[in-house]
């Protein structure tokens, strides 16, 4: 909402290079830029309700259409990477925790800490660039840029998931170590279950709550990561759109995309809460019998 503060007159940009003063004034009137600020805000919000976010200064295209066309690309890599992060890091963290329980397998402990620190400290866009150099340019297995085939999804998703998988598997590992010392795990050990059943049935559910709570912010940060990573892979999503728009001072597009990204972040947080409520019934009332 701070967009009107952007320096530079939007009307000058919208009228195009070399426009005369009259043309600029006309554009200003068309865009409603002469109205008081609060009227501009009011118009904008009523526009949102009608799914009308204005038109791009640069292409004249409706911002809603532009977002509608770009949204699926960003959503695809963001959500695919979130799902894969959880599928990789939860089992990985649990296995490492079980294998290093009470100080066993010291080498695994050290190796896991070192590798996760290393890969976590390499930012997603650097990993993305290196992936392009190795897998697209040198080996030629995947396309380096664009979104022409399903194979194009592989490198952006991989670049997005490596770092967060490292952090979250570390969180899972630490939480598992805590859960493994709980009384109810000892009870389940007393039932002499197979290792897989013991850990999937009695350890995993207690783990998911804290893990998801702690991971919520990391997962919303995936949106920020997606914005940057789209530049590496020329991925036609919202991130590329907003960066171009900022460079071209295309305010309606910037405003629209930032709004949508905010809604997406909220959607991820709500999704995490819903999953938490499904997994742990105590999160939804029913606590009157609690000890």
């Amino acid at each position: 909402m701070m967009i009107p503060l952007i320096p530079g007159d939007p009307a000058v940009v919208a009228a195009g290079d070399g426009a005369s003063a009259d043309q600029i004034a006309q554009v200003r009137a068309e865009l409603g830029l002469e109205l008081p600020l609060w009227t501009q805000f009011l118009n904008y919000f009523s526009g949102i309700l009608r799914l009308d976010l204005g038109n791009s200064f640069v292409s004249g295209e409706s911002v809603s259409t532009l977002i509608f066309n770009r949204f699926p690309y960003t959503a695809a890599i963001a959500f695919l990477s979130i799902v894969l992060i959880l599928l990789v890091s939860v089992p990985l963290g649990m296995i490492v925790a079980v294998l290093t329980r009470s100080g066993r397998n010291k080498w695994l402990d050290v190796g896991f800490n070192f590798l996760t620190s290393l890969f976590y400290s390499i930012p997603q866009y650097v990993i993305g660039t290196l992936l392009v150099v190795v897998f697209a340019i040198t080996l030629g297995w995947f396309p380096a840029a664009g979104a022409e085939s399903p194979l194009s999804l592989v490198l952006p998703t991989a670049a997005l998931m490596i770092g967060p998988s490292c952090v979250i598997s570390r969180i899972v590992r630490r939480e598992t170590a805590v859960v493994l010392e709980k009384d109810f795990v000892r009870t389940a050990r007393g039932w002499r279950l197979r290792a897989f059943r013991l850990h999937s049935r009695y350890v995993l559910p207690s783990l998911i709550t804290t893990t998801l709570t702690l991971s919520g912010l990391i997962l919303t940060a995936q949106l920020g990561g997606a914005v940057i990573i789209e530049t590496v892979f020329a991925w036609p999503g919202l991130g590329q759109g907003v960066v171009n728009a900022i460079l071209q001072r295309d305010y309606p597009v910037i405003r629209g995309i930032i709004l949508i990204l905010g809604l997406l972040a909220t959607a991820i947080i709500i999704l995490v809460d819903v999953i938490l409520a499904i997994i742990d019934p105590r999160n939804l009332g029913g606590s009157e019998h609690a000890v």
């Binding site: 967009i3 320096p7 329980r101 009470s102 100080g103 066993r104 800490n113 290393l118 400290s121 390499i122 930012p123 866009y125 650097v126 660039t129 392009v132 150099v133 040198t138 380096a144 709980k182 009384d183 109810f184 000892r186 009870t187 389940a188 007393g190 039932w191 002499r192 279950l193 059943r197 049935r201 009695y202 559910p205 207690s206 919520g216 912010l217 919303t220 940060a221 949106l223 920020g224 990561g225 914005v227 940057i228 530049t231 590496v232 907003v242 960066v243 900022i246 460079l247 930032i258 990204l261 972040a265 909220t266 947080i269 997994i279 019934p281 105590r282 029913g286 019998h289 609690a290 000890v291």
Partner: protein, 567 residues
């Protein structure tokens, strides 16, 4: 607060590697622009060269040495990062402390605003700020700095809230010290350690994000260059000059890694849980099944020693046996080794302990080895101390209570539930079928413990190991649970190893009483001897004198009398 001496050293390998890397980077940032400045910026005719002895990483399209550019860019990157991190930390501290100092209503509102600000991805926040300002060094620095403020402010506010409950802050407030003075003189020093760790994270994140802004073209603009700008330049010529990406990539990764390692080392230093524990893999000794013996005992323990590897023994060579149908009590204070002994007999000793014995068998299962899990589950049932924690809170009772029946006795879900419901009826649980669909927190403590007993009995065990099964319960509930143990003893004739610190409880139930003190059995009593108070060891006398009458007053007195009356 943990004393310094108990902590691990600060100078761990992680810390040393991190500091060395960071030190090297700072040296590069200081000296590279002085010595390599020309090579990094002067246009030459050696454009687009591959790696050579003269240009290790080759040259770019304008003939500038790529290695020199990567090294020289360290100065601008580190300076911008330091600036941004300083904005985040100082801004976050100021807002966090201001929130704590402000009146309650305002504080709660501010905290809520912070929560939602933190949920918004910082990089997108930074994009908004970068969109308002014109791309450049200053705007990237300010954008990243400001976007880091909410996160740091929230943690400062949370830390301040927890520190503000400590005695010295409360005292200072009662003495009328002004809030601002309390914040700076009393609270800040006590939050320094976690905040320092967090500041290293903020620094690492700022570096990554500033480079990200430059990378997408919204940060540093040509002819200036930082890590991100160099990486951006390399994108256009990735196919012709893939090595261009290497320099900035390695620099970004190493800088991030060095600061992260320092943060990790500081966190490990501050967190006592991250202790190094020496571990020795326990060796399975002997066959899983032992040849039949003719001594008639169900459980036989000879010279059992349990200890910390390379440390002292906690159980120092004890021997006893349990006959079929016999109830043996292990009595002693906490720390006497009784629970350790019981769990070892049940085959559930902690993995980081070493267990040795001449003989340790239950029926013909060698508990020093790895007996068949199904036999263990069916023949040894275990009842634990605190029914509040022995069930998994997120699973329904039915799933947990029928686990052994389904896994090891091959029953279907419906049949297992019928069997358990019957067993629950036996221990006087009302509406057993409905209880199976409830979660543990929906049952009372006494009910949970009786449910545990029901599931323990459902498999028809040869031995029950009960580890202080009544300690965590109310006196009246204890009575009902003990009644169930006596019923099992009389009707089912199941052998039991019953752990307790309460001689009053034990005297009603057990045939043989073993008194443990500091890992040794100091006295063996029959039930009659105990009832007659015919004890010799002073420790047993002390335990007898400590029977709840003294501790709990009249109520407990009556309880002991009731128990005596039943027998």
């Amino acid at each position: 607060m943990l004393s310094r001496s108990k902590r691990g050293g600060l100078w761990t390998p992680t810390m040393l590697i991190g500091l060395t890397l960071l030190g090297a980077l700072i040296l590069v940032a200081i000296f590279a622009p002085i010595f390599l400045g020309t090579a990094a910026t002067q246009l030459t005719s050696n454009a687009g060269l591959g790696p050579s002895s003269e240009h290790w990483l080759g040259t770019d399209d304008y003939g500038r040495d790529l290695l020199a550019r990567a090294l020289v860019s360290a100065r601008l990157t580190l300076l911008m990062t330091a600036g941004a991190a300083a904005i985040s930390v100082i801004g976050g501290l100021a807002i966090g402390l201001a929130i704590w100092v402000s009146p309650k209503k305002l504080r709660e509102m501010a905290l809520r605003v912070l929560e939602s600000a933190v949920a918004y991805p910082p990089l997108i926040f930074a994009l908004v700020i970068a969109a308002i300002l014109r791309p450049g060094v200053g705007s990237a620095l300010i954008a990243i700095g400001i976007s880091g403020i909410p996160g740091f402010a929230r943690i400062t506010a949370n830390l301040a809230a927890s520190v503000s409950h400590s005695d010295f802050v409360v005292t200072a407030r009662l003495l009328g010290v002004p809030s601002a003075r309390i914040a700076f003189r009393h609270m800040l020093p006590n939050m320094a350690e976690p905040l320092l760790i967090l500041a290293t994270t903020v620094f690492a994140l700022s570096l990554v994000e500033i480079s990200a802004l430059s990378f997408i073209g919204l940060g540093v603009q040509s002819p200036q260059f930082d890590f991100g700008r160099l990486l951006n330049d390399s994108l256009d010529s990735l196919y012709t000059q893939p090595l261009m990406a290497v320099g900035p990539s390695v620099m970004i990764a190493l800088s991030g890694l060095s600061v992260m390692l320092i943060g990790d080392a500081l966190a490990a230093y501050a967190d006592p849980r991250a202790r190094n524990v020496k571990f020795r893999q326990p060796k399975a000794t002997g066959p899983a099944v032992l040849p039949a013996t003719d001594d008639g005992a169900l459980v036989r323990v000879d010279d059992l020693r349990i200890g910390i590897p390379n440390g002292p023994d906690l159980v120092k060579g004890i021997s006893f046996s349990i006959n079929p149908g016999e109830v043996v009590a292990l009595v002693g204070e906490s720390g006497s080794g009784k629970s350790l002994t019981a769990m070892t007999v049940a085959g559930l000793a902690a993995q980081d302990l070493s267990t040795r014995a001449e003989l340790l068998r239950v029926d013909n299962m060698n508990m020093l080895s790895h007996p068949d899990p199904s036999r263990l589950a069916k023949e040894i049932s275990i009842i634990y101390q605190d029914p509040g924690t022995t069930f998994n809170p997120s699973l329904r009772m039915g799933v947990q209570l029928t686990e052994v029946l389904r896994t090891h006795l091959g029953m279907g879900r419906a049949k297992a539930r019928r069997v358990i419901a019957d067993a629950m009826g036996q221990v006087n649980i009302s509406r057993p079928a409905a209880r199976l669909d409830q979660h543990p927190h929906e049952l009372s403590g006494g009910m949970r413990q009786r449910a545990m007993i029901a599931s323990a009995m459902a498999t028809g065990p040869k031995l029950i190991v009960a580890d202080e099964p009544t300690t965590a319960l109310d006196v009246t509930v204890q009575h009902e649970v003990l009644r169930q143990f006596r019923r099992i003893h009389k009707q089912e004739r199941t052998a039991m190893l019953f752990i307790s610190h309460d001689l009053g409880v034990v005297q009603e139930l057990c045939d043989t009483i073993l008194v443990m003190c500091q890992g040794e059995i100091v006295e063996r009593l029959t039930k009659d001897e105990l009832v007659r108070r015919d004890v010799k060891h002073p420790y047993t006398r002390a335990l007898l004198e400590a029977i709840p009458i003294l501790d709990l007053g009249a109520g407990a007195h009556k309880e002991v009398a009731v128990l005596g009356g039943v027998n």
